[in-house]
Symmetry: D2
Subunit: 349 residues, 4 copies
Amino acid sequence: MSKFRFLTSGESHGKCLTAIIEGIPAGFEINIDLINAELKRRQSGYGRGERMQIECDTAEITSGVRFGKTLGSPVTVVIQNRDFENWQKIMSVLPEDFTEEKSFTRCRPGHADYAGSIKYNHKDLRNVLERSSARKTAIETAVGAVAKQILSKFNVKCSSKILQIGKAYENFELEIDKAKEIGDTLSGKFEVVFENLPVGLGSYVHWDRMLDGKIAQAVMSIPAVKAVEIGQNPLGFSGSEYHDEMFVENGKITRKTNNAGGIEGGMTNGEPLVVKAVMKPIPTMRKPLNTVDLADMKECQAHFERSDTCAVEACAVVAEARIACVLADEVLQKFGGDSFDEIFRRLGF
Amino acid sequence: MSKFRFLTSGESHGKCLTAIIEGIPAGFEINIDLINAELKRRQSGYGRGERMQIECDTAEITSGVRFGKTLGSPVTVVIQNRDFENWQKIMSVLPEDFTEEKSFTRCRPGHADYAGSIKYNHKDLRNVLERSSARKTAIETAVGAVAKQILSKFNVKCSSKILQIGKAYENFELEIDKAKEIGDTLSGKFEVVFENLPVGLGSYVHWDRMLDGKIAQAVMSIPAVKAVEIGQNPLGFSGSEYHDEMFVENGKITRKTNNAGGIEGGMTNGEPLVVKAVMKPIPTMRKPLNTVDLADMKECQAHFERSDTCAVEACAVVAEARIACVLADEVLQKFGGDSFDEIFRRLGF
Amino acid sequence: MSKFRFLTSGESHGKCLTAIIEGIPAGFEINIDLINAELKRRQSGYGRGERMQIECDTAEITSGVRFGKTLGSPVTVVIQNRDFENWQKIMSVLPEDFTEEKSFTRCRPGHADYAGSIKYNHKDLRNVLERSSARKTAIETAVGAVAKQILSKFNVKCSSKILQIGKAYENFELEIDKAKEIGDTLSGKFEVVFENLPVGLGSYVHWDRMLDGKIAQAVMSIPAVKAVEIGQNPLGFSGSEYHDEMFVENGKITRKTNNAGGIEGGMTNGEPLVVKAVMKPIPTMRKPLNTVDLADMKECQAHFERSDTCAVEACAVVAEARIACVLADEVLQKFGGDSFDEIFRRLGF
Amino acid sequence: MSKFRFLTSGESHGKCLTAIIEGIPAGFEINIDLINAELKRRQSGYGRGERMQIECDTAEITSGVRFGKTLGSPVTVVIQNRDFENWQKIMSVLPEDFTEEKSFTRCRPGHADYAGSIKYNHKDLRNVLERSSARKTAIETAVGAVAKQILSKFNVKCSSKILQIGKAYENFELEIDKAKEIGDTLSGKFEVVFENLPVGLGSYVHWDRMLDGKIAQAVMSIPAVKAVEIGQNPLGFSGSEYHDEMFVENGKITRKTNNAGGIEGGMTNGEPLVVKAVMKPIPTMRKPLNTVDLADMKECQAHFERSDTCAVEACAVVAEARIACVLADEVLQKFGGDSFDEIFRRLGF
């Protein structure tokens, strides 16, 4: 049921991250600078560790685009790992390169380590960590940057902001500095807003077509997100307080509130789409947690790999990207068409 | 990517609700009484209106089961609408029965009415209401009741409880009585718990295989749900406070906390799966909201159709059902097999 | 990737056959007489056995349509089994009705019996036969009849004809009479043609979007079909003989041949779509085949259940239906839109 | 419904071809030499043009494999285009590199050119040709080579042979030499056989699970394939001649014939799976066809790009690959499991 479909791949310290996007109509101008700008946004934000400087991700398109425009064929986006030189032995594809350097067996609570080792029968937890890493959100951000460009053709605008970091509603830097000092990490809450969406994306006719459900999946599947809300959390509100009454102004329907966050009946209703999410504190900490070494089943301290104090800003950027993919898919399905010329001719643009 | 797949259909006052479930292995004993028990649970709960008495849903299986066991072929579940007699003219399939009786044009805020009328080009909002109704969750509950029975074969247990109604954390009846008296409706929060799940359902390897994402979609796509959380909402917690440390007891890994709600890295981690959700207050109120009549674009009072004061208990039952479908799919994929004999032989049961 | 999606269910002697179709835009007039006409065509044709008289299938719509028009919600089609009265004990859903009457263990070569019994661990081969029966094509024909009606809104026309029965290219009745007399069955070949399809359905950009591939699946998945061809089978032709040269007539592109059968590069090319298929002889014969009884692993004669001598005409009707589903999906994806009013406004109809 | 899922990308003269394969269990040893061996087989065969020498494809794995074994995460396979140096301006991603060199507007009959130009609104037919090229089958062959390695773990063996080239059943070289001399191209027929498949892959329970249907799609979606058969084409056979009787030998079921080609009721039945297909003659010929120039709508001679006389052997290799993908998916679904250790433990290997 999806038109804008994609697969992504790549390990945290592997050679590169890759995405193949299938279903973009032809004749769409892709601006690679805008992709790179999103990748940069994802790496920014107060509270990030050193790796962000090493990464400095840039995207390359290796298929599906010619002379700046989509061909209608699958678009491939690749982000090289700039640090790969230092990891090529450790992450080698070849059996003869086998090494236990950088392998580890102490589960990090809050990570995929424990369940991943059982599911995939991995003794070396690096085999889990490398894919379960938040690094994979870089390529998801690149895919979302393409989706955003499609949406912007339909005049859809996107933004996000931080609502809370740790216990602070403002002056987040101070909160982050304090946590960093003691080697701890911070949770936070953010909000993503999409404006100008056409009315009627998504549908109530079948559960798997409800737009709020699709958005919730997109956001909750970002590593570290534990809570998702659409619009104003209704907890404690009565019906007469919560629902957004409708009025007429200059012959048009208007509302004075947007508690519904732009979605009624699983569909966009013309008001700004507002999605909020809570990110848990990063579980890799200098101040380590008690855990278990799977090699000998003894209690120990969790393995520490260099990390961030707070990545809520990055998480918001990824959430924008992930929601943009859902919306681009909906818009392309709604308008049909195999080329942007056709779509815009239909829309009278 | 789904083995337990299904489609549902049916209008609120139509002849019947139907579901076809494809992908259940053969040789599985389906107990129809357990399906009906779930349907009854969904209709119970303090604060429901009169319709619940009329409904008194019972399921019939019309395919895929012989002598109490699944054949491996698609299973069809039908719930007849007991009130259909009174609606057969109004909901008739036939063009010659056209009538404007029971049609309406005044949008109800908080419902699909407005966006649905634009999306599907419906002048009569009944054409929207009939499918966007929460009535469709009855058949989803029936499908979920089948999923639960599958899970119980793997010793998985499921329960739910109410956490908050309106502003009350307990004595919910009083809160509901007060709201009913003034014709208002109430929001609420509930929790669903699944115990005994195998470690490693879901996966971190690709965004659309993350179990938390799938669960979030399942729950957020229930009409009226606006917020979903997995485990303890991490807002305000630091890393050292939040993550669930691991210990060894009698040679086995244990935890003293379950803030993660049973999911790490998008997978079950062996702890109870805990999902919380917030339901908005029902938007159909005796005390009506200001709105717009689409027929003349004039402001007016919203249309009132007999309704409940609070349906949070029912919503929790539906959430159990919806999550059970996700988990049954995961379990069936994990263990493979085309018959339950084969599955259990593999598992050494 | 599919908009017109559906599930079907039902056993051969079960209570009913059911289909749920999800994805039909709103405001589409469904004519149930046209569905029944297709069901009748499927039951006709020279060489059919007695069951066809018993069946006399008629479709009922139980959801998704009001006053003759689609609502946008899932459409349910049900075909009751008129003979169910005589089978309700044997096909009962209830465990307490268990009986071995009508059970059998002698595999019928050419049927699903053997592989089905192993796959689903069925001792009683009736548990296989009941779903593997060609009976299920009745409900597929009903779904296809809806798809055809959608296509006819776009002026697409469909027809089919028999090319060969047994060894005869004409006078098929005689061939069938001879086979019937000796208790044998006949294979045959037929052709389905769709005219007026828009150029560019399907796509070369990804293997699973190639229209010829989708059509081949649709037709080969009809029970008893063993060969599928698009257009003229190219075997023995050279490039200069085979390919359809292009000419200009009155400023428009024309062709003098249609060896490609209307598909180039996995897309419709504006010429009639021509699909041919070969149906194997029905494997249930009065003159029985040597086989094995799975109960005692002894050689024996195959179980005989009343059957047809030749069902090639019926098979062609089913093929029309199955291909229509593929094409309706493609057309709806191409034009987008949630209501037929919207689609036709776009198309300037 | 698919576990072994993949997307492919890449233009004929673009930088590279890429595939991402999602769903391979962990701990599976991938042998890259076996992938390259299949790529070489695809480029071999009597009657190929010069490009095959230039190509000499080799695969690189850039994700999902570490020290020779799969991690459970998506596997990326890349085939660099060795000739890209000469095409990088013509196939540039950048708008500023726009050039009309190598562009063309004369439709080649038998290719995607005409329909593709309309569907995707391409004026320069190179924008169609680059993806509709058979070049994309190289990466499909690589994906299939991975699927074959998975199947070989289950002892499944695969082979293919040519049945006919042009009008010749043997001495194909002579036929090809003659065609080459006059600048013509040849059609042909081949057969692919898979042995040792478990009984019960595929299913009769729903049309989209029929294995013959899936195989037909896989093979018919190979560019230039116009006909697909499973087993012996039944045309002209009666029921008593065609069906494969069953016998008992040493307590096991045996058959003396395999007309069904290993599939009954849409499932493997334990006999060798036999698939035949007819490839049309390559439509790019030195001896050009009459066609139309889309730039001025005048009749003209078709554009000629260096080509092969006959590629039936290559087509057979691609068919092996494509069918292997379908079968690997079925096998992985049947056995479940997230690591090969788990799968083999279950199977008692």
